[in-house]
């Protein structure tokens, strides 16, 4: 079935993406999944990772998401994320310092360390950095 599917990525602070796409690929907790138009209604939690989509001109675009939820409907994909940035909007400096901070926290091994949170912070920072590195300079 040919046609475009609408993609919306919303965070509490702003709407990051709202456009027509040919295909969307998102990182679900049980594995990455792709959505084309006419998809069965589907809902999943997302991992920290990258949502990739092909825009109407056939160009591939990337958006970082820090986990959240995705809902796929036959004509629309909605992604709810706590934070999300397009690849070009990623703040390298911030990601780098977040990574160092998280690493230090993990190495300190204090008793009150919230391991899961520190690890999640590290994961977010690493994903941001990795995605930003694929940016064309």
């Amino acid at each position: 079935m040919a046609g475009n599917i609408k993609l919306e990525v919303v965070t509490p602070e702003k709407q990051v993406v709202d456009e027509e796409t040919q295909m969307v690929v998102a990182p679900g907790v049980l594995g990455e999944f792709g959505v084309l138009i006419g998809h069965t209604p589907f809902m999943t939690a997302l991992k920290i990772g990258t949502v990739r989509y092909t825009d109407t001109s056939g160009q591939e675009r990337c958006v970082f998401v820090s986990g959240g939820f995705a809902e796929a409907l036959p004509d629309k994909v909605t992604i709810l994320a706590e934070s999300a940035e397009r690849r070009r909007d990623i703040d390298l400096e911030r990601a780098r310092s977040a990574m160092e901070r998280a690493q230090r926290r993990l190495e300190d091994k204090k008793a009150d360390l919230d391991f899961l949170r520190a690890e999640a912070a590290l994961k977010r920072a690493l994903h941001r950095l990795r995605l930003a590195e694929t940016r064309r300079t």
Partner: protein, 294 residues
């Protein structure tokens, strides 16, 4: 009666005050616009979130999560009190605080209360009342609020609830009704009140009801529920921020008007006094001239 000089000084003083209140009014107006935009940006997320939550809650059924189960009896109540950091905004903070106070009185003496404060005014109130403050955040309300803050604060609330430190958690915030009206409200955060399932929307679009869920609907819901607390908290903070600026704008508007009235009255008094002085001088001169003639 005050001397001319004194009245003049008073007038120039009031004029200066008027300048300040005018400036504060303008600052509040522009901040208000920013705060409203933030609320506007949050709306799509909140709407979608409520929709997803509703449709999942309808399918997952009761007992899906501990966060939904009410406790009996309720001994330890936690209140999240949102106020502003700064004053000069009319009865804004007082309204919020008295809302919290009324709630506390209503619950009676055998429940213990603890607080999380957003904003200095509420914290100060808790301190003077020697109440338990578990956490406080300054410089949040009124500024640009990152969602992270709501997540971190919300996580502590959820942890406190699951560990049994709190039996119930309430949020006191100010609802932005309109430019002229801000209402203090109280809302239960935990246990999460019964979620209305989205049966109505399912009827509009029957195919929507049958989502495939990964992982199962119950697991998704368990993941979603703590987040709904963060979302509610964030909404409360945004509303309170917007209300604060609106309240300050109104207060400063009134103050500017009061200054204007005062200046008018004082000018009247000044003119009268001046006229009286001139008349008295004239009388002197005329009297003197008459005496010389004599």
């Amino acid at each position: 009666m005050a001397t001319l000089k004194e009245i003049q000084l008073k007038i120039s003083g009031v004029k200066k005050t008027r300048q300040i209140t005018k400036a504060m009014n303008m600052v509040a107006t522009s901040r208000l616009r920013g705060a409203q935009q933030n609320m506007e940006r949050f709306r799509p997320y909140a709407a979608k979130f409520a929709e997803v939550l509703g449709s999942l809650a309808g399918r997952a059924g009761e007992g899906a999560s501990l966060l939904l189960v009410p406790r009996e009896p309720v001994r330890k109540v936690h209140v999240v009190l949102c106020t502003s950091d700064r004053g000069l905004c009319g009865g804004f903070n007082l309204n919020l605080i008295s809302k919290a106070e009324a709630f506390k009185a209503e619950r009676g003496a055998d429940t213990s209360f603890s607080f999380t404060n957003f904003g200095k005014k509420g914290r100060d109130w808790c301190r003077t009342g020697a109440m338990t403050i578990d956490d406080h955040y300054l410089g949040v309300v009124g500024g640009r609020i990152p969602f992270n803050i709501a997540v971190n604060a919300g996580r502590k609330l959820v942890d406190g609830f699951t560990s049994g430190a709190y039996d119930e958690v309430f949020l006191v915030y100010s609802q932005f009704v309109s430019m002229a009206r801000q209402e203090p409200r109280i809302q239960q955060l935990l246990p999460i009140p019964k979620i209305e399932s989205a049966v109505a929307t399912a009827a509009d679009a029957p195919w929507q009801a049958e989502h495939i869920c990964e992982p199962s609907a119950t697991e998704l819901l368990a993941d979603l529920l703590p987040r709904s607390v963060y979302v509610q908290l964030y909404k409360g903070l945004l509303e309170t921020s917007t209300s604060e600026h609106a309240a300050r704008r109104t207060a400063m508007d009134n103050a500017t008007k009061a200054c204007k009235d005062m200046i008018e009255n004082l000018t009247l008094v000044y003119n009268k006094a001046r006229q009286a002085a001139i008349t008295a001088e004239l009388m002197d001169i005329v009297g003197g001239a008459e005496a010389l003639k004599g």
